[in-house]
């Protein structure tokens, strides 16, 4: 479903965010990307959504080489992805409901059907009662859940989450992880970046550990603990 082949990304100014990164994620997998801040986690996710383009190597999503995708085709790629941004990117000039409505408006969804979908998505993340509120009045955890609702309202096959538990306390983080697991159960491919390894404790999932832009290991949890520990050393 997602394949990186010897991917290099260097930002203008010379900063090398990713070095020779190769991995493959199968359909329906739930994969965590770990690493210190600046390790290249966000860059990796951005390459999948064609927000950034690789300098070398290829990024294949759904059999499409995203790195060389034409400008005009990018919107249609992104419609198949649900993206949960590190900085939420919620719009404070409209209420919760309309924030979740935006992706459906963009796709030109039927008006009545899209109302149903927005309610379903809000219900899924437990924000149905807040649909008329302005996102600015929501707590950090609620804003994160709103962001998730907006990412899934389109029913994407791939969900990308950049530090979804970044500045949440343990209880909120646990809630968010529970939501992700429920998506995993219904067959969504998930790619979640985090620097907070505590959320991995009770999870039996694959981990891609990045360190200074290089992939340290592509292991399941059992082997992962050792490798990340050495990564942090």
């Amino acid at each position: 479903m997602i394949r990186f082949n010897q991917v290099n990304k260097r930002y203008p100014g010379g900063y090398q965010a990713l070095k020779n990164v190769s991995f493959e994620i199968a359909k329906g997998e739930m994969v965590f990307i770990t690493g210190h801040s600046g390790a290249g986690k966000s860059t990796l996710l951005k390459l999948i959504a064609a927000i950034e383009r690789p300098n070398l190597g290829s990024v294949i999503v759904n059999n499409q080489n995203v790195g060389v995708l034409k400008e005009r085709a990018i919107p249609y790629l992104r419609r198949n992805l649900g993206i949960i941004f590190q900085d939420h990117k919620l719009l404070f000039d409209r209420n919760v409901f309309d924030n979740v409505m935006l992706p459906l408006q963009i796709c030109g969804f039927d008006y009545r059907e899209s109302h149903k979908r927005v309610r379903a998505a809000l219900d899924k993340v437990g924000l149905l009662k807040r649909e008329k509120s302005n996102p600015i009045t929501l707590s950090g955890g609620e804003q994160q859940r709103l962001c998730i609702a907006r990412a899934i309202v389109n029913r994407p096959t791939i969900l990308l989450a950049d530090e979804p538990t970044g500045n949440l306390d343990a209880e909120y983080a646990h809630e968010i992880m529970a939501i992700f697991k429920s998506f995993h159960q219904v067959g969504v491919t998930l790619l979640i970046s985090t620097h907070d390894e505590s959320v991995l404790q009770d999870t039996d999932v694959r981990v891609l550990a990045l360190r200074h832009g290089e992939l340290q290991s592509a292991s399941s949890l059992s082997g992962q603990a050792a490798s990340t520990r050495s990564g942090q050393a």
Partner: protein, 298 residues
Amino acid sequence: MRHAIAQIAGVLRRMFASKLAGLLSILVTGIALSLPAGMYVMLQNAQGLVEQLSGTPQISLFLTMDTKEDDVDKLRKQLAQHPAIARTEFVPRNQALEHLKESTGLSDVIGGLKQNPLPDAFIVYPKQGEAHALEELRNELAKLPKVELAQLDSAWAYKLEALLKFGRMVVLILASLLSLALIAITFNTIRLQILTQRDEIEVARLIGATNGFIRRPFLYFGAIQGLLGGIMAWLIISLSMLLLNWQLDALSQLYASQFSLHLLSPGDSLTLMLFSMYLGWLGAWLSVARHLSQNEPR
């Protein structure tokens, strides 16, 4: 469809959120457009007047004061045989004086005259109305015996015609320049709009909005603002014409003539509004295109 309606509603809401700014833009557009369009209307009116007056070109032959009746007969025959002349009309000096008394209301003054100062005259209607041929015919007729003066009555009309051509060029230049200015105005208005909606545009692009989707509400905005500006221009012109006609009425009563300015025709009105709408749309398009090209992913 309902998304489109919702979008237009959103655009209008945004437009009326900044009442003063929106109104000012519309007013500026209206005034800028009413200048060339108003001049155009004036030219149309002048054009109509010229056509009305110079529709049948005439040459007036004023005869010398000592002309006898058989001189007149001789001249009449000569003119009748001339190949370039369609017909002639003889105006005896007495009749001319009567006509002058009636039409100008100067009977008191004329009555005080000891003798009729007017000469006999022929009005010659040439077969063709081409300026050069008329001028030649006038020169030829001026050399006839007993003809004191041959006057081409429509000569001024041709001069006016040339002047109108000049005027039309002025309107064209003015319209082009002001159109550019209008595009610039919309460009700037939309640029400011884009700045206030930066976040929305960024988020929309990140979750799969096409450029067309992002462009659309701004194009609606530009087009609606342009249309309202066009309507404003139309109102300004119509109101001005009504005011001018009101004054002209008083004036033309004094001159005992019927003359009033025509307003913009329905076709011209529609053209004005659609053109203004198009300019707004174009300005918006350019503005969004610039923003989008500046924010492509690397």
